[in-house]
Subunit: 301 residues, 2 copies
DNA sequence: CATATCTATGAATCATATTCATGTCTCATG
DNA sequence: CATGAGACATGAATATGATTCATAGATATG
């Protein structure tokens, strides 16, 4: 007779108990409310006892729920401690790691998250190469890994998915007032800045926008440098179409405001690519693990 | 930064550490050696440190492995205690539960496992109905649930899979000697007992036998009562084709020996069927959970 | 050295967790 | 009271990831 009770559901239950709301828990874990609901149904079903007291305003734990929560607290504490312990005993990498990334990604969000990794690996030298031609160098062994969002995975490459991009159209609050833009915005007559070669971005953005909100675009202003473009937008030159991660700071500070609510992530994922080889990708693995440990929210999606 | 480290893999790692062999661990958990291997690769990959010291004869844990093992020990103890605790606080069922099952299943293995359930629910009356027409009574609400292996699930029925049948062809050791049967056996000239209407069993058996071992069947003796048939076989009347669960005891005692090695389970599963209704299947759920908590090995597959 | 007993590995398959698209219920508001 | 917003539930479709299958390699054993 075996009654497992491992299940990922327990982690969900644990956070749910902490935050006290399905919706909030879902956000915290980077999944949908539906997922949390399903998971809890299943868990309660499995243990055969109601764990949650769903009330209209907020939810409580039942007596049993509380006991289970305490068990989780303890158990997860031990496990997480062990995990951290293992982290520390991880063979520190030495030598050189050549990382490639797209310009947009590498010049913004990536750098914001590299510090802890660098601190943890003082003996590791890292070269960053920001470019839009990553596949070539990667295949030629001029790079150890590349972070990108290419579509067709080559059979020679290993792909480790990281997160899905979310696009935003945003502008300064002043610009929004001046152009009387609603949310969601109809962009008629409103200049929109984007990368010159990035009609693709516009298409992918449209795909992620709900049918009801599809905007009309009249004026499209091309800029070929992303920081310059963001600058221009912050100066009030127009609205801006960019991956969300590249303007996270501006959004947080309120320098820019989004003109569409709740845009979903795109299909394709930002992934880490590396050549398939038999052994010895220790440094690569280290970075991969680190980046994977970051939640989608930290990448702005 | 979140480094989960929940994962079913940990349970696998834990048992692996206890039994000290991939193969044995797999058997214990009722899965294949391959699964265990994959799981451990993934786990080591995830924590970034080797946990196992694979040596030629037997395997040891590395230093890190040992620490992780201890953490698991603690954590799982807590969780399992909590699980047991919840078990006890499960609302005991009262009233009557009408259980249907096939004659073969109900008259053998099922009864061997019901005792603990009955003990845990002293206020529950259970009616067992052993029959081959279970669907009718179930739909007519003459049964609360049915344990069977029907093929086409009706949309009105909920199906909870329990285990997959394994068939065996077996005979007494004496019979085997007398007929000079090898393993795997070529059954030419050897009388094989089976249920009268159960040509279906033979077909399903053949499907599960590897091509190399396909036997030739000459004489087929029909009996319409399974216990009588088993009796006949034990008396040396012939070989016997039956679901493995129905002769578990005889095989364990050595009264019967299997004539084919390592027959795989069939496609279809024995499942619990019940009518789909909105609420209040508490008693059904209780039994379902209990039966599900039994491992496949306990059903002889 | 042939055989038996392990573990590893890649591709195919299957199970399950998650999403999507809804539905229901409750509460607050004009 | 309608009406809408917010929170959870639910069924079908889908994506993710765990497991098997079919092998191969490696090491001991008679």
């Amino acid at each position: 007779m075996d009654a497992p009770l491992d299940l990922p559901q327990l982690r969900t239950f644990y956070t749910l108990a902490q935050v006290g709301s399905f919706t909030a828990c879902a956000r915290r874990l980077g999944r949908t409310q539906s997922a949390v609901s399903h998971a809890m149904t299943k868990l309660e079903d499995l243990v055969g006892v109601p764990l949650l007291d769903r009330r209209n305003r907020g939810l409580r734990l039942t007596e049993e729920g509380r006991r289970l929560y305490q068990a989780c607290e303890q158990a997860f504490a031990t496990l997480d401690a062990a995990a951290e312990d293992l982290q520390r005993h991880q063979t520190q990498a030495r030598g050189r790691l050549r990382v490639g990334a797209t310009v947009e990604f590498g010049s913004s969000i990536l750098m914001r998250h590299m510090q802890p990794f660098l601190a943890a690996n003082p003996d590791l030298e890292i070269d960053f190469t920001l470019s839009h031609d990553l596949l070539g160098p990667l295949l030629r062994d001029d790079l150890d890994l590349a972070i990108d969002c290419v579509e067709h995975a080559l059979p020679a490459l290993k792909k480790v998915p990281l997160f899905r991009e979310t696009y935003v159209v945003a502008c300064t609050p002043a610009f929004r007032r001046a152009h009387r833009l609603r949310v969601p915005a109809d962009l008629s007559g409103c200049p929109v800045l984007s990368l010159d070669k990035a009609g693709a971005w516009w298409n992918r953005f449209l795909m992620a926008v709900p049918d009801r909100q599809q905007p009309h675009l009249d004026r499209f202003i091309a800029v070929n440098h992303i920081r310059a473009m963001i600058h221009a937008a912050v100066e009030g030159m127009g609205a801006l179409l960019v991956p969300r991660y590249s303007v996270l700071e501006e959004l947080e500070r309120g320098d820019l405001v989004a003109l569409f609510p709740a845009i979903r992530p795109t299909e394709d994922r930002f992934s880490i690519y590396q050549k398939k080889v038999k052994a010895g990708q220790e440094k690569q693995k280290l970075l991969t693990r680190y980046l994977q440990s970051l939640s989608p929210a930290e990448f702005g999606s």
